[in-house]
């Protein structure tokens, strides 16, 4: 098999998996926190669900980059890349893998704290959501760079 395809495939793999694992772990932890609150106050479920979901976007970003790489390298379309292009796709996957994966952790922590905030004070939801979304900025920027790198080739 071509080395280029293997490298690009590795890129698609880490974009989806690293960002996805970061999201999954912290959506899970946020879910546990929500479950604890909802046991006492079921009416807060709706707003807490949104907070739980926030660290989950990184996984979606990773999935999109992964898909776009696959459409370029002859798996879902496009042509098999040579070595250097394959390496390029691998590098292109790194911003969302690293930036996404780590920001999911940071955002997850903010989400868990915001869930505690809403548990104590229901009207704090707006604040909690904004605090948590501050972290999202950096996932968004990482995604932006990965996306531009992938679609420009």
């Amino acid at each position: 098999m071509e080395w280029g395809l293997i490298l690009a495939g590795l890129g698609a793999f880490i974009a989806a998996v690293v960002a996805g694992v970061g999201s999954a772990v912290w959506v899970g932890k946020a879910g546990q926190a929500v479950a604890g609150v909802v046991a006492e106050e079921p009416e807060k479920f709706g707003s807490l669900l949104i907070l739980q979901l926030l660290p989950g976007t990184q996984g979606v970003y990773g999935l999109i980059i992964s898909f776009l790489i696959l459409t370029k390298i002859g798996v879902l379309g496009g042509a098999t890349p040579d070595f250097s292009l394959g390496l390029y796709y691998l590098i292109a996957s790194l911003p969302i893998a690293i930036g996404g994966g780590l920001s999911a952790v940071a955002q997850g922590k903010a989400a868990v704290s915001s869930i505690a905030l809403v548990a104590k004070r229901g009207e704090g939801f707006g604040n909690g959501m904004l605090l948590t979304l501050m972290v999202e900025t950096y996932a968004l920027f990482a995604f932006l760079i990965s996306l531009i790198m992938v679609i420009s080739k």
Partner: protein
């Protein structure tokens, strides 16, 4: 617009106190504050407060018990309405109290029945092993020389009792702990008991009042248990029917809370033997309303409205037209405006809508969002902050439809495909963010610069208005010069000369005057140089607006990937399989796009808000307003029919 407030001082007769407070609560126009000279000692009210809390707690507890049986309000049914009179009428409380009585007594009855059922069953269980006893219970008794008694003996140990002078009749040999009837001579009883215990046996005696065969008694007990179970079920149904009382209880909770609020306001009054003083804040456009309400009660009063003093902080009330007022919810998520600041809502609303549309950037999503929000508003009629936010999102949806034509897509498809069926064409009208990446990036940052310069302009206006023209020129206008100059030099290098001059003027103004309060020339220049470093903040802020572009790309890329998935699925088979996969692809597409719409709307809503709060408000907005909380009717479970005054929001 910020509504000017007036400080209200009312002095009236103590006898009229309750009626005046009720009248004021009705108009919901007075924000009561602690009287200046009041001691702040509420201890005499503690008992009243406690009794209210206890009453509310009791209603809540009763409601909790029947809540599961009450008719559930549909997701889209509007909140029930209630006449205002019902909230003040004693009948409301009385009716709810009746309901509480019914619920409590029915719950007690159910508890009793359940306990009785368990008791009967337990008794029946103790008799169950003896069902096969052929004798009547009263016949199992000792005589003068013979001891006759019952015992449980482990089956495998019965043989160990051979040779003991006792006769054993095994009643039921299927049980491992066999029920037995034993008979022995009275003189052998002690020895028999000793051996019995050695063999692991335990004595058993029937309740002394039992007569007849065990099997009959057992059957009677079981049928009694069944009767009780049936009765329990009947009473449970009766209990569930009490779910209908739910509304009465909720109404009473609301009514008690209304009265509780009035009592708490009364605690703030300064009361003497014959008169009382009420102090509070009133909107300057509701002075008449307040005076009329008091006139309706009595004409023995003294009222005074004064302007707020320097050291007083009146609560903040904003008044906007119908369109802008929806956006107050967004502003309030950040902070209420300071009473002496400016209401930023109307300044922010157009930017909010524009950025919202550019971020979501898919006309299809915008259309769905608009329709969903409108349907929700029409069916559920949400009130308060939540209703405002839903309206904002509906407008955002409309803005998205428009922006989609310029920079976006239609459900992830390019407009050219939708209109002409070809990949190339005049759409999107402005840029395709996926192709003209840099142009789109610069466009978004340019919009950001525009908004920030606008913010500086507002800031300058505010400073002039408060009489500090120096600050307006040196701290706000200077920055506009500097930033516009620098951007101009970069953007149109050919005609950079005028921009260079502009930037130099701005820069010099900042360098020389930012530290104008310092006497020392070096200190002054140092502070100016430090202030100049603030230009890095503007770079950061400008770059921050690239999130508009990034969010737009997320929507576009997500939609495209989902369409790709759907397309692959739809083209996966032929013939019958083909039809099935096509249907499946349709379902998958709806679900995926629904997810994309949800997650992107959430992100768009919040990121747009962030740009307003951090980059825009950060330049001029004065926070720290106190909420205007007039004594009024604040209901949780109902809406009041035909509410006439401004409190309606």
């Amino acid at each position: 617009m910020l509504v000017p407030m007036k400080r209200l001082t009312l002095i009236a007769l103590r006898a009229d106190k309750d009626n005046i407070m009720s009248a004021l609560q009705e108009i919901a126009a007075v924000h009561v504050i602690s009287s200046d000279s009041a001691t702040g000692d509420h201890s005499s009210f503690d008992d009243i407060f406690a009794s209210f809390e206890e009453g509310i707690r009791r209603f809540r507890e009763a409601h909790r018990q029947i809540a599961n049986y009450a008719e559930k309000p549909g997701l889209l049914t509007p909140q029930k309405q209630v006449e205002k009179d019902a909230l003040t009428s004693q009948r409301t409380i009385d009716k709810a109290m009746d309901a509480v009585m019914k619920i409590e007594s029915q719950a007690a009855l159910l508890g009793e029945l359940k306990a009785k059922h368990t008791q009967v069953l337990n008794f029946a269980n103790t008799l169950k092993p003896w069902i096969k006893l052929k004798h009547n219970i009263e016949d199992v008794r000792s005589t003068k020389h013979t001891k006759v008694f019952c015992a449980y003996i482990p089956k495998h140990n019965i043989s160990k009792l051979e040779g003991v002078p006792v006769s054993i009749e095994v009643v039921d040999d299927s049980a491992s702990l066999a029920p037995c009837v034993l008979a022995c001579h009275a003189s052998d009883y002690d020895e028999v008991m000793l051996r019995l215990h050695d063999a692991g046996g335990t004595e058993f005696s029937f309740q002394s009042d039992l007569r007849g065969q065990v099997v009959h008694i057992y059957d009677a007990l079981m049928s009694k248990a069944n009767e009780i179970a049936e009765e329990t079920e009947k009473e449970q149904k009766e209990f569930e029917r009490l779910g209908n009382e739910s509304d009465k209880l909720l109404l009473a909770i609301d009514a008690l809370n209304v009265e509780y609020e009035r009592q708490r306001a009364k605690a703030e009054l300064l009361v003497s033997n014959s008169a009382f003083i009420l102090e509070g804040w009133v909107r300057s456009d509701q002075l008449d309303l307040v005076e009329q309400a008091i006139k309706g009660v009595t004409d023995a009063y003294y009222i005074e409205f004064t302007d707020p003093k320097e050291d007083e902080t009146p609560p903040t009330v904003v008044k906007n037209n119908k369109f802008n007022s929806q956006f107050e919810a967004i502003t309030n998520m950040f902070s209420l405006p300071n009473y002496r600041g400016i209401d930023a809502t109307p300044l922010m609303a157009p930017f909010y809508l524009l950025f919202f549309g550019l971020m979501l950037s898919d006309s299809g999503y915008g259309l769905v969002l608009y329709i969903l929000c409108k349907l929700y508003l029409w069916l559920k009629k949400p009130k308060g902050t939540f209703g405002q936010i839903v309206r904002v999102i509906a407008w955002g949806g409309l803005s998205t439809v428009v922006c989609g034509f310029f920079v976006g897509t239609f459900f992830g498809l390019s407009w050219n495909k939708v209109f002409f069926g070809t990949a190339e064409g005049p759409f999107p009208l402005l840029f395709d963010p996926l192709k003209n990446t840099i142009s789109m990036l610069l466009f978004c940052c340019g919009l950001g610069l525009l908004q920030m310069m606008f913010a500086l302009g507002v800031d300058a206006y505010m400073k002039v208005k408060s009489g500090d023209a120096q600050a307006a020129i040196f701290d706000s206008v200077s920055w506009i010069f500097l930033v516009v100059g620098l951007v101009g030099i970069l953007a149109v290098p050919k005609y950079s000369a005028p921009f260079l001059v502009l930037a130099l003027i701005g820069g010099l103004l900042i360098l020389l005057f930012a530290g104008r309060e310092k006497k020392n020339i070096f200190g002054r220049l140092g502070k100016g140089a430090g202030a100049l470093y603030g230009v890095s903040g503007y770079i950061g802020d400008t770059v921050s607006y690239s999130r508009i572009f990034a969010m737009g790309l997320v929507t576009g890329a997500m939609g495209e990937v989902f369409n790709l998935l759907g397309g692959m699925l739809a083209g996966a088979g032929s013939g019958v399989v083909g039809v099935l996969t096509t249907i499946l692809a349709g379902v998958v597409l709806v679900v995926l796009h629904g997810f994309s719409l949800f997650i992107n709307t959430l992100g768009t809503f919040a990121h747009t808000a962030r740009l307003q709060f951090v980059e825009f408000f950060g330049k001029f907005y004065q926070t720290g307003g106190i909420g205007f909380k007039p004594l009024g009717y604040h209901l949780k479970h109902f809406d009041i029919k035909s509410f006439t005054n401004a409190e309606k929001r």
